[in-house]
C-alpha cells in the first residue's frame, strides 16, 4: 500500500492507546456495580488495537504485540468454563457463583466475586475473537 502521512494520528496514539486500554480495564472491573463488564471491556481493548492497526500496519502491530489471539480465545474459554465447572467441586450446580468481602493488604476491604473470573473469560474471548477476525481478514491481500 502507498505510504500515507498520518503523523498526527501516529503521535496521538502513543498516548491515547494507554488511556483507552486503561479505561477498558476499568470498565471491565467496574462491571458488577457500574456500567461495563467483560464484553464491553473486551471490545474496547480490541478497539484500541484496531486503532493501532489503522495507524500503523499489521506487521508493526504484530511486532509490538506478539500475541496469538487464537490462544487468547482458548484461554478465555478455559477461564469461563473453569469458573463454571469449579462450582461442581463445592457440591453446588454448574455455574453457581460465590462472593464475599476479603481483607487484603494495602487495598483494604475488597469484595471479590467469582463472576469476575467468568467475566475475565468473556473479556479474553471477545478480544481474541475480534482480533483473530480482523487480523486474518486484514492479512488476506
Amino acid at each position: 500500500m502507498r505510504k500515507t502521512n498520518n503523523i498526527i494520528l501516529e503521535t496521538a496514539i502513543k498516548v491515547l492507546l494507554f488511556f483507552i486500554v486503561l479505561y477498558s480495564v476499568y470498565i471491565f472491573t467496574a462491571g458488577h456495580y457500574y456500567p461495563g463488564g467483560g464484553f464491553i471491556g473486551g471490545l474496547m481493548t480490541a478497539g484500541a488495537i484496531v486503532l493501532l492497526l489503522i495507524t500503523y500496519d499489521i506487521k508493526t502491530v504484530e511486532k509490538i504485540l506478539p500475541v496469538n489471539y487464537r490462544i487468547l480465545t482458548g484461554i478465555g474459554l478455559l477461564f469461563a468454563i473453569g469458573t463454571s465447572a469449579g462450582s461442581l467441586f463445592f457440591d453446588v450446580p454448574f455455574l453457581t457463583h460465590a462472593f464475599g468481602d476479603v481483607q487484603l493488604p494495602i487495598l483494604g476491604e475488597v469484595s471479590l466475586h467469582t463472576a469476575t473470573l467468568f467475566d475475565l473469560g468473556v473479556y479474553l474471548v471477545v478480544v481474541g475473537v475480534t482480533m483473530t477476525i480482523i487480523q486474518t481478514i486484514g492479512e488476506d491481500e
Partner: protein, 801 residues
C-alpha cells in the same frame, strides 16, 4: 464430589496433563505416566466389591441440572462394577502392552494416550451413570474417542475410512438411543434408571413401549456390532493393536451388551425383545464365524470372531430375559443363560484380549499379519505360540479352559430355549441350538486357523519383512497375564460366581429375587453325559474335519457375489448422500453473499409474517406510551436521513461511513433512554464493525452495472421494506400485548440479594443467564476459528499454486 465421581473423571483429568508429560519427559515413554491410573482405579473398584457382593449398591449424586432431572448420579451395582473392573483391568494391561508396542520416538504418544484416557473415562461413565442423559453423553464420548483412535494413523486412507464408518454407524445408533431415552422420559417423567425400574409395569403397558424398545436396541446393536451394523468393526482394525484389544474387543463393543443387560428388567418381558435380541444375536454369531474363516489377515479374523462372540453373548442375554416369564427362583433353568452371558463376557475379554495382543506381537516381529505369508513361527516364538494356543483353544471351547465352560453353558441355554412354552418357541425354538452348534463349528475352525496357520506349517522367510524372533518380555507380560486368567478361570470358575457373576445377575434379573435372596451360581466341569456334551464332541470332530479339508471348500466363498456385500451397500449410501447433497446445495449456493441474504431475509419475513397473522397477534395499544421529546425526533430524523443517503451513495466508502453514523445515532437513543450499558456496547460495536468494513473494503467487488437493473433493485427494495415492516409490527405488538408480568421486577429485587452486584445488565450476563453467555462466547470462538481456517486455507492453496 465423591471419590466415585472422581474415579470416573480421573482419566479425563489426567489426560489434560499428558501433553505436558510428553513434552517435558521426552526420554521416558509417556505410557509409564498413564499406567498407574488404571491400576489405582482397578484396586479402588476391587475395594467396592464387598458392597455389591452383599447385594447392595452404592449411589452418589451431584446435582447438575436438577430442574430438568439431569444429575450426575453414579450407581455401582453388580453389573456396573463388573464392567468397571474389566475397563480398568484390561486398560492397565493394554497400557503396559502399548508401552512396548508403540515406539516412543516414532509415534504421536501424546495424542494416543489422551484419546485412550478419554475413552477410559467415558466408558466408566457409561457403565456407572444412573442418569440416562449423562450416560448418553458418555456413550457418545466413547464413539468419539474410538473415532480418534481408529484414525490414529490418519495419514492412511484406510484409517480415515474406518474411523468415519465407525463414527457414522455408532453415532447413528447413539442418536436412536437418545430418542429411546426421551420416549422413556415421556412415559415416566424421569431420567433416573433406578426410578425407571420401579415403573417398569407402567412402561410395559404404554403405547410408546415398542418404539422406545426399538430405539434402544438400535443403539445397542450398532455399538456392539450386531448384524447388519457389524460392518464397521472389521474396518476399525486399522487402529493400533492395543486399541483393537481394548476398545474393539474387550470394552467398548460390549457397551451394547451392557445396555441390553441394563434394560432387561424394563423391556425383557416383551416378545419383541426376546426375538430381536436372541434372533439378531444368533444370526450375528453364525454370520461372523462363517466369514471369519474367509479372512486372511490375523486381525480381520479376530474382528469377525469378535462380531460372532458378541452375537453369542447377545443371544444369551435375550434368552435369559425370557426367564422373567417364569417367576420362581429355584429350578429356574432359564437363568443359566444370563449366568453364561456374564461368564462368557469375562472369558471373552481374557482370551480375545490375549489373542489380539498375540496378533500385534506377530505383526511387530515379522512385519505382516497375513496368514498366507506366515507359517512355522513356532520355532522362533515359542512363548507367543503357547499364549496363542491357550487363547485359541479357549475360544474354540476346548477343555480345560474357561471358554469350554461358558460354551457348554451356552449350549445348555440354547437347548433350554426349545423347552420354553412362550412366544411360539415350541415350533421355531429348535433353530436356536442348531444355529448355535453350526456357529460353534466355524468358531472352532477359525480358532485353529489362527494358531496353526501362523505358527506351524512351512516357514516362508522370503515373504516376511523382518527376521522373526521372540518378542521382548514387556510385550509378553500382558497377554501372559490374560492367558493365565484363562487357565485359572478354567479350573476355578467359582472364584467368579459369587464375587462377580451373581451380583451382576441380580442387576439383570431383579424381579426374580425376593428380599435378601441372591443367585446361587455354581459352575462345574462335568454335567454328566448329556446333549451339550455330544454337541461339544460334534463340534470338535466336525471342526477338525473341516479344518483338514479347508483348502477344498474355502473356494466356495468366492462364489458369493461381491455386489451383495453389506459394505457395498454402505459405500453406495455414503456416496449417494454425498453427491446428492452436493447437487442440492450447489443448486442454491451460488457463492454470492447477496443471494444468501435474500434467502435469509425472505425466509425471515415469511415465517414471522405468517406467525403474526396466523396467531392474530397484531395489536396496537397506545395506553402505556410515554411522550416523545425533541431529542428523540431529531435522532430519528438523523437515522432516517442517514439510511436514505446510503441508498444513493455512489461509493462503498461513503456507505460504510454513513452506516456508522446511523449506528452511532442509535446508540444515542440508548443514552436518552438511560441504558448506559447498551449505549456503550452499541458505540464500541459500531466502531469495530466500521473498522471491519474498512478492512474488508479491499476485497469487496466494485459496484457493478447489473445492480442498476430494475428487477434486481425491485427485489431488494421489496425485501428491505418487508423486513422493516415486519420488525416494526412485531415491536408494536410486543409492546401492546402483555401476556404476563415482566421479569424485570425479579431482577431488580434479586440482583444485589442473590448475586451481590449492582449493575443489573452485567449480573444477568455473567450470573442469572450465565449459560447463554458461556454458549455465546463459545460460538464466537468457533466462528473466529472458522474464519481463520477458511482464509488461511485459501492463502496456503494459493501459495502452493
Amino acid at each position: 464430589m465423591s471419590s466415585l465421581h472422581l474415579a470416573i473423571l480421573a482419566p479425563l483429568i489426567v489426560s489434560i496433563f499428558i501433553p505436558l508429560f510428553y513434552k517435558i519427559f521426552r526420554r521416558i515413554h509417556t505410557g509409564w505416566f498413564v499406567l498407574p491410573l488404571p491400576i489405582l482405579l482397578f484396586v479402588y473398584f476391587l475395594s467396592i466389591l464387598p458392597i455389591t457382593m452383599s447385594g447392595k449398591s452404592l449411589i452418589k449424586i451431584i446435582n447438575w441440572i436438577p430442574s430438568l432431572g439431569i444429575n450426575f448420579t453414579v450407581k455401582v451395582d453388580g453389573l456396573g462394577l463388573l464392567f468397571s473392573l474389566l475397563i480398568t483391568g484390561i486398560g492397565a494391561l493394554v497400557v503396559l502392552y502399548s508401552i512396548y508396542y508403540l515406539a516412543k520416538n516414532k509415534e504421536k504418544l501424546n495424542h494416543f494416550y489422551v484419546y485412550l484416557l478419554l475413552f477410559m473415562g467415558a466408558m466408566l461413565g457409561v457403565v456407572l451413570s444412573d442418569n440416562l442423559i449423562v450416560m448418553y453423553a458418555f456413550w457418545e464420548l466413547t464413539s468419539f474417542s474410538s473415532f480418534l483412535l481408529i484414525g490414529y494413523w490418519y495419514e492412511r486412507d484406510k484409517s480415515r475410512y474406518g474411523a468415519q464408518k465407525s463414527m457414522l454407524i455408532t453415532v447413528f445408533g447413539g442418536l436412536a438411543m437418545l430418542g429411546g431415552f426421551i420416549l422413556l422420559y415421556i412415559m415416566t417423567g424421569t431420567f433416573s434408571f433406578t426410578e425407571l425400574m420401579s415403573q417398569a409395569n407402567d412402561i410395559f403397558n404404554h403405547a410408546l413401549f415398542v418404539p422406545a424398545l426399538l430405539c434402544i436396541l438400535l443403539g445397542a446393536f450398532t455399538k456392539s456390532a450386531q448384524f447388519p451394523f457389524y460392518i464397521w468393526l472389521p474396518d476399525a482394525m486399522e487402529a493400533p493393536t492395543p486399541v483393537s484389544a481394548y476398545l474393539h474387543s474387550a470394552t467398548m463393543v460390549k457397551a451394547g451388551i451392557y445396555l441390553v443387560a441394563r434394560f432387561t428388567p424394563v423391556f425383557g418381558e416383551h416378545y419383541l425383545w426376546f426375538w430381536l435380541v436372541t434372533g439378531v444375536g444368533i444370526l450375528t454369531m453364525i454370520w461372523g464365524s462363517v466369514f471369519a474363516v474367509k479372512q486372511t489377515d490375523l486381525k480381520a479374523i479376530l474382528a469377525f470372531s469378535t462380531v460372532s462372540q458378541l452375537g453369542l453373548i447377545m443371544s444369551l442375554l435375550g434368552a435369559g430375559a425370557a426367564a422373567h416369564h417364569y417367576k420362581f427362583l429355584d429350578e429356574n433353568i432359564f437363568t443359566v443363560a444370563v449366568t453364561a452371558a456374564i461368564f462368557h463376557l469375562i472369558n471373552h475379554a481374557t482370551f480375545k484380549g490375549s489373542l489380539f495382543m498375540v496378533a500385534g506381537i506377530v505383526d511387530h516381529e515379522t512385519g505382516t499379519r497375513d496368514i498366507r505369508k506366515l507359517g512355522g513361527l513356532i520355532h522362533f516364538m515359542p512363548i507367543t505360540f503357547t499364549i496363542s494356543i491357550i487363547g485359541a483353544f479357549s475360544m474354540a471351547g476346548l477343555p480345560p479352559f474357561n471358554g469350554f465352560l461358558s460354551k457348554e453353558m451356552f449350549f445348555t441355554a440354547m437347548v433350554h430355549v426349545t423347552e420354553m412354552d412362550i412366544f411360539n418357541l415350541e415350533t421355531w425354538g429348535i433353530l436356536f441350538p442348531v444355529f448355535a452348534w453350526i456357529a460353534s463349528i466355524f468358531t472352532f475352525v477359525y480358532s485353529m486357523i489362527l494358531v496353526f496357520k501362523t505358527f506351524t506349517g512351512k516357514y516362508q522367510p522370503e515373504k516376511l519383512e523382518k527376521i522373526p524372533h521372540e518378542a521382548s518380555i514387556g510385550l509378553l507380560i500382558s497377554p501372559a497375564i490374560l492367558v493365565s486368567l484363562v487357565i485359572i478361570f478354567g479350573f476355578f470358575p467359582n472364584l467368579l460366581s459369587d464375587s462377580l457373576i451373581s451380583p451382576a445377575m441380580a442387576s439383570i434379573l431383579p424381579s426374580l429375587l425376593g428380599a435378601g435372596e441372591e443367585f446361587k451360581v455354581h459352575i462345574s466341569f462335568w454335567h454328566g453325559i448329556n446333549i451339550e456334551l455330544f454337541m461339544t464332541l460334534g463340534v470338535i470332530i466336525l471342526g477338525v474335519f473341516l479344518y483338514q479339508t479347508l483348502s477344498r471348500w474355502k473356494p466356495i466363498y468366492k462364489s458369493i457375489p461381491e455386489k451383495l456385500a453389506l459394505n457395498r451397500f454402505y459405500d453406495f449410501l455414503i456416496e449417494g448422500v454425498q453427491s446428492g447433497s452436493y447437487t442440492f446445495t450447489k443448486s442454491y449456493m451460488n457463492g454470492s453473499i447477496r443471494s444468501y441474504l435474500v434467502y435469509v431475509f425472505a425466509f425471515f419475513i415469511f415465517i414471522l409474517a405468517t406467525t403474526l397473522i396466523g396467531k392474530n397477534a397484531i395489536t396496537f395499544d397506545t395506553s402505556n406510551v410515554s411522550s416523545i421529546g425533541v431529542y428523540e425526533v431529531i435522532l430519528a430524523i438523523f437515522v432516517v436521513l442517514g439510511s436514505i443517503c446510503i441508498l444513493f451513495a455512489k461509493s462503498r466508502m461513503t456507505s460504510i461511513i454513513l452506516l456508522g453514523a446511523v449506528g452511532y445515532t442509535v446508540s444515542l437513543f440508548y443514552v436518552l433512554f438511560r441504558a448506559p450499558d447498551l449505549a456503550l456496547t452499541q458505540l464500541v460495536i459500531e466502531t469495530i464493525s466500521v473498522a471491519l468494513f474498512l478492512v474488508c473494503f479491499y476485497h469487496l467487488p466494485k459496484l457493478r452495472k447489473f445492480e442498476t437493473r430494475m428487477s434486481f433493485k425491485l427485489t431488494n427494495a421489496l425485501i428491505s421494506i418487508g423486513v422493516g415492516a415486519v420488525v416494526t409490527l412485531i415491536a408494536l405488538s410486543a409492546h401492546s400485548s402483555k401476556l404476563f408480568d415482566s421479569i424485570s421486577q425479579y431482577y431488580v429485587e434479586n440482583t444485589y440479594k442473590e448475586a451481590a452486584g449492582k449493575n443489573m445488565v452485567n449480573v444477568i450476563l455473567v450470573d442469572f443467564r450465565g449459560f447463554d453467555t458461556l454458549f455465546e462466547i463459545t460460538v464466537l470462538a468457533i466462528a473466529s476459528l472458522g474464519i481463520f481456517g477458511m482464509i488461511k486455507l485459501r492463502l496456503n492453496r494459493r501459495k502452493e499454486g
